[in-house]
């Protein structure tokens, strides 16, 4: 059932060590104050440690691993909140090209990505950021050329990307195209969000000419976009699991030290209940997200993905709310770290579909699978 667990354990230890060394919150605080929120040196290290090529085939410079290992890296990134575009590059950018690109496209785009020489992302949603809303980017044919116009909303790491895969309305279909971030007509509007540990952008396209070699797909593009969003949702769920683990640890540490009325506040029943609830949220999220990651492509993958995405989004938010409550006033001061998790959880809850959206998908899946009558 558990593929390569020894490898996964080693990977977790080395990933955590690298992130603890290079991106403790003392360093993170400096990085998030910059406009890019990016540590180029750490990204080069991520490439050296093989994080970027984990799920890529050896033929394009990857190591041919599975989501079982990728999940470890994403959890650890969530734990450290390191602002690295790993999910954007690997799950979204590379994921789209592996899913919808041909051999030539994969050979052209993926080796540089696995080596950390390029960064990618995918713009899969409308300006609202909601997967269910009609796309607000569109493809048109003008004098034989394919032209992209409109806007994609809440794109992760677009400001760092060398290229991005854009989902756009294409007549009655959905088109998936690779867009050079520096191409004429592409404008990246950086967003200032409640969550300060990530950088999102609205990406505007004003008559961007798309070369024939940059058109992906050709099969069921609607399903390919849906699958990319599903994976993105599970990646965010894994990130939440990593964050939840650290939220539980730091909160329990705090209530075991802080004294009021001459007692540790952790000895009060109300606070004990808070801690117990934190653990329940964390453990349930962990099993849901890992089951989904290990089940990718399997018979129950869409169902488990919907369960993980809907449960973890709410759980992370609820857990950080409880944690701040346990910390009391210092929980919302800049000096303590817990508010970073609280705000990150809020954005995670919305990215690539909120829990309500995923519950709707779950209902759709179950209805589809259950014989009527």
């Amino acid at each position: 059932m558990e593929p390569n667990d020894e490898l996964a354990d080693e990977l977790r230890a080395s990933t955590r060590k690298a992130l603890d060394d290079r991106m403790p919150t003392s360093v993170l605080r400096g990085v998030i104050d910059t406009d890019d929120r990016f540590d180029r040196g750490l990204y080069a290290l991520a490439a050296d440690l093989g994080w970027l090529g984990l799920t890529l085939p050896e033929s394009v410079g990857g190591v041919g691993g599975t989501w079982h290992e990728l999940a470890v890296v994403i959890e650890e990134l969530g734990r450290s909140m390191a602002p690295l575009p790993v999910v954007s590059s690997v799950v979204l950018g590379a994921g789209a090209v592996l899913l919808a690109g041909d051999d030539d496209q994969q050979q052209r785009l993926l080796p540089d990505l696995a080596g950390g020489r390029t960064i990618a992302t995918a713009a899969l949603t409308a300006a609202s950021g909601r997967p269910a809303d009609g796309l607000t980017a569109r493809l048109e044919r003008r004098d034989g050329a394919v032209v992209l116009s409109g806007v994609s909303g809440f794109v992760t790491d677009a400001h760092l990307a060398t290229w991005m895969v854009v989902a756009a309305v294409d007549g009655a279909d959905v088109g998936l195209v690779v867009v050079d971030a520096a191409a004429p007509g592409v404008r990246i509007e950086r967003l200032d969000t409640t969550d300060v540990t990530r950088r999102l952008a609205h990406v505007h396209f004003d008559g961007v000419v798309i070369e024939a070699v940059d058109v992906l797909g050709g099969g069921d593009n609607v399903e390919m976009r849906r699958e990319l969003l599903r994976r993105a949702g599970v990646a965010i769920a894994l990130d939440s699991v990593g964050g939840l683990g650290r939220v539980v640890e730091t909160t329990v540490e705090y209530v075991a030290e802080r004294e009021q009325f001459g007692r540790k506040v952790g000895s009060f029943q109300a606070v004990k209940h808070h801690c117990a609830n934190l653990l329940i949220l964390s453990e349930t999220s962990r099993v849901a997200a890992r089951a989904a990651a290990d089940g990718i492509g399997g018979a129950r993958w869409p169902e488990w993905a919907a369960v993980a995405s809907s449960y973890c989004g709410d759980a992370y938010t609820e857990a950080t709310r409880i944690a701040v409550q346990c910390f009391g006033g210092v929980g919302f001061t800049w000096e303590y770290d817990i508010h970073f998790f609280m705000k990150r959880a809020r954005l995670s809850q919305q990215l690539f579909g909120n829990p309500t959206h995923h519950r709707q998908l779950l209902v759709d899946e179950l209805r589809f699978a259950t014989p009527v009558g």
């Binding site: 009021q260 800049w334 000096e335 919305q350």
Partner: protein
């Protein structure tokens, strides 16, 4: 239970709203102003209120009030908070600092402080919490030691809102280390400019200047700064803060935000969606539940009853209303609600502090449990 407003009260609310709409254009960004500008605008605004008799209406006439029923103060509280609380810290002067001075002040303290507060030309801050005295306020360690005609104050206060712009601090300090910790605390009315007082910012998820820590190092104040008898400060504060549980009409501001969220939904043709309706409706219900509880408190006060249980129940309901509206904003607006300085983001700030500031939610539950269980708890 009848909570209909009289014609006079409705007329008052209408007049007040027209005045506020005229004076204060769009105001939920008020807290985004730099602290000095906020103080300046607040001072100018509060003086306008004072000129109209709307600053201290519930105070006795002899101290600059007009002895109005508590309901008028409640209407004021609702309308002020709906406009971003333009009184800033001065709502505290009116709600409980002034009343504390009325209760325990010397003739000189009353003449000086009550005149200034009722004219709206002074900002106060409250020096209560300390790093190791939060929920357990009576454990405070800041000391005031008598030295001839003076007291010498040493210690540290934290979470002091408005300390950076206030002229006076309503300070609790320990004057006796023996016996029960509640019985060794006195109140001092201290000018913040006194040598030895150092004010620093606490950076937080809230607006700049929201919180401070205040250090007292060998601060000498005349003994005439003490309010009330030595060592009896805690019981004075406890009596006065019972009022403060209902002092800020948080439910009313939350309901106003909910209206904005509903407008946002209406603009996107979302109001036919049953899930949207359910979210908006349950949030509205939470706000109205809190509103009715606080009306019950005012009703009991007006009829001379002790509103203890209603007041604690109101406090917990207000926290829930803040949180539910916050959830509604994010659930309905999605990622668009996470734009910095949007009203959803602003509601988030209020909701984050709702269950902590002014006493944690759990302490409120404990107080309710104590009322229910008494010595059996």
């Amino acid at each position: 239970m009848h909570f209909d407003f009289s014609d006079d009260e409705l007329a008052f609310r209408k007049e007040l709203k027209e005045f506020l709409d005229g004076e204060l254009p769009v105001y939920f960004e008020f807290f985004d102003l730099p602290p000095e500008e906020r103080a300046e605008r607040s001072m100018a605004f509060v003086q306008l209120l004072s000129e109209r008799g709307w600053l201290t209406p519930a105070w006795p006439v002899e101290y600059g009030g007009s002895a109005q029923a508590p309901w008028q103060q409640m209407i004021l509280a609702e309308e002020m908070v709906a406009h971003g609380e333009p009184r800033t810290g001065q709502y505290m002067n009116v709600n409980w600092i002034g009343p504390a001075i009325i209760l325990a002040g010397t003739p000189e303290q009353k003449a000086y402080h009550l005149t200034r507060i009722s004219k709206g030309d002074v900002l106060w801050c409250q020096g209560f919490s300390e790093p190791d005295a939060g929920s357990d306020l009576a454990a405070l360690r800041t000391t005031a030691v008598r030295d001839g005609d003076e007291y010498v104050i040493n210690g540290e206060k934290i979470w002091t809102s408005n300390a950076g712009i206030a002229e006076f601090c309503f300070l609790l300090a320990r004057t006796n280390a023996e016996g029960r910790k509640q019985d060794g605390i006195s109140i001092f009315l201290v000018p913040v400019a006194t040598p030895g007082i150092e004010v620093g910012d606490i950076e937080s998820v809230l607006h700049p200047g929201a919180f401070h820590h205040v250090l007292f190092t060998d601060v000498r104040v005349p003994a005439s700064c003490r309010l009330g008898p030595e060592n009896e400060g805690f019981s004075i504060v406890r009596t006065l803060l019972a009022n403060e549980r209902t002092g800020v009409a948080r439910y009313h501001r939350a309901a106003g935000y909910l209206d904005r969220i509903a407008t946002w939904c209406a603009e996107r043709d979302l109001l036919d969606d049953s899930a949207v309706i359910e979210t908006l409706a349950s949030a509205r219900a939470a706000c109205e539940a809190a509103r009715l509880l606080v009306y019950q408190v005012y009703d009991e006060k007006t009829r001379g009853l002790d509103p203890d249980v209603s007041a604690w129940a109101y406090r917990t309901a207000a926290v829930r209303a803040e949180r539910v509206v916050n959830e509604a904003a994010f659930t309905l607006m999605g990622a668009e609600g996470l734009a910095r300085h949007s009203f959803a983001d602003s509601q988030f700030e209020w909701a984050v502090t709702a269950g902590v500031a002014g006493g944690s939610y759990e302490m409120q539950l404990n107080s309710l449990a104590r009322v229910l269980l008494g010595s059996k708890g």
